[in-house]
Amino acid sequence: MEISKFTKWFKEYGWRHLVGLIFVTFAIYPILFVLTNSFADFANLTNSKLVPNSLTLKHYKLLSGDPLVPYFQWLYNTYKVAFLAALFNVFLGTLAAFAFSRLQFKGRRTGLLTLVIVQMFPSFLAFVAIYLLFFQISDVAPFMGLGTHFGLILVYLGGSIGFNSWLIKGFMDTISPSLDEAAKVDGASEYQIFRKIIAPLARPILVVIFVITFIGIYSDFILAAIFLKDKNLWTVAVGINTVFVDDFNADWGVIAASSVIAATPIAVLFIFFQKQITGGLTAGSVKG
């Protein structure tokens, strides 16, 4: 009786859990591996045990103490660049979206289509030209040339502003026009309508766009690698992938610790905004 009940359960549900578990292992093993190694006393690549013998924070401490590996400087750089670029991105994108959503003008359709078409080409595709352009900018205005965060932020701004305007515009279209028409009757200016009505109501999408852009820039490697030559100006992506690859086994605990610090906030953000990010909004084009 009991056995046949189990067989029935297994045929219906149990085998599904079995397959599920196999793939759960596949999905999270590397993550657990790096997590435990970051805390393990004897961390090395060969250590496949997921429960370390003793726990330690020494790898995290080592990370902050090595002047040759300014890890926390990299972390600060990354947050700074990603935050500023995402902020301006959303700000400028909102302005443009407002015009496309609320103002009637000639060339509106063409403008929107152009945005969509231009954004089909990832901005890093033309990295050779970007590099050479900023090579010249370095001569004329060194403060925003190659090797500066300023220049890098400018490139990031160009890279996703069209796409973001498009998404924000789509959301603004869902805000009832009766609201701003009423305000217009009351004598509100364009700017007031934007400031007092549309922008506040669009806040949910603005937060989402900010997060998506932030994650995208945080995870970028190619543009940051081309732009930043000075070790102290590197972002985390460039830093850990440049410094740590040389002596992999020796530094494994430190590499693991740095990976955990770099990944955790982004993973938390991502999981928190999971629905919006995967909900067809980005059609798989944002994740890098």
Partner: protein
Amino acid sequence: MKTSTILRYLLLAVFNAGVFYAIPLSITFEAWFLLSLIILNAFLVNTVYLTDRFKPMKWILPGMIFMISFVVFPAIYNTYVSFTNWSTGHILNKTQAIKVLEDRTFTPEDQKDIQFDLYVLQDQNLEFYFFADLDENNMFFGKAVTDEDIKTTSYATHEPSLKKNDELIVPDGFYVLSGKEQIANADVLQELSLVIDSKTRAKIFKISVFGASTGSLSSTSQLYTYDSNKDALINNSTNIICPAVDDNFECDGKEIDPGWRIYVGTENYEKIFSNQRIRAPLNIVTKWTFQFAILTVIFSFFVGLLLSMILNKENLKFQRVYRSLFILPYAIPAFVSVLVWKGLLNPDYGVINNWFAPLYEILEIEPIKWLKTKESARAAVLLVNTWLGFPYMFLITTGALQSIPKELIEAAKVDGATGVQSFWRITFPLLMVSISPLLIGSFAFNFNNFTLIFLLSGGGPPVIGSEVAVGWTDILISFTYKLAISGGRGNMFGLASTVTIIVFGIVLLISALSFRYTKRLERIYGNI
């Protein structure tokens, strides 16, 4: 006037000040593309914000400027670069190259063999001084400087009073270094020179332990002079005339470095299609780029769909747990997970080979050299990318499966369809309607998945015997990166831009295809 108006004019003034600062500088550096970009932006900003004719543009322009400057403009610039010879040795324009060449120096024959006594002294600040005794009319004393300071230092003076009866009279406050002390400081001393006049310097030639060391003259005579009438360089040492040929000056048929960049027409394109040594690697890379992108989509879609079908079952427990665990690989920045995978795949210490060790023993084969051979590197790249990609596929297929009406399946069952039949005839086609645009998007993303390739395998292992740096797992974008920046064979910007144009073309094709098959365009039109 309203505050906002004042603020607007103030910002405009700052902007225009920047423009007027940058224009002459761009002209000085002959940065013509940058100049045209600046002028275009200045024109747009001023017409939009000084007149009221383009009101909506006041909202759009700030964002648009960045898109024009750093997306549209580089695309145009890239096209231009693909028609030039821009590469190491041809980085400068002609004016700059001539300037570099005119700065070159040589030592005239008549000065080469002159040797003389040279004394090394130190003052109280431990700075080095040389006293060069060429002959009785040329006894020079002065501070010895490095090459960097040569242009700013003053010339050495003739000081006959420092030598009497062949003995050096040490001036007050100075100390003469013995031969041994000179040897101890040889590295520093060899870099120093005594500047005699604008052309001539005295340097240490040989340190001797007894008596004075030997000095020699080195001249800063200008090696090349440019003759603009003949458009040629004249070599002042040999008096050979080196005419400008295309992008280099040539002396007796030998090119002098650096050359300069010129417009070369379709030369890069011809190279790519007809030069076997470049066409072959490009073929390898292009083929693999498609294989990589297609296989990645197939594998991750297959795994994702399989899982969502297995786990999408009524009353199955822990569905939410599964979903939150499966999302983890997708939530972690790729640059981190790739690094971790690189560790796992390490052929000597990595966990994966550790696990496989018993298997290797049973099969009596060598452990797989992950990422070191063509096949293993390609397999590893696909494995890791499947890991990165299947959670996304799982999420979207789960969503799509749940939106398929159950009545359809039930009706098929009633009509006597088997599970397999109803899957292939109903579920799968309906699934593809909503999923296919996302699959094309995923393909396009992976087509240019630089981060994964570059960080995991570096494009390697290298293809032996290729004229350009290229590896077996390189995709077009990482191949371009190697050509332009990190290949270790100089910067081939022209050629790299040409490859980029090919990538542009393919992306355009993919987009057109996705528009056509998914009717996204109609949705966009509908949205406008």
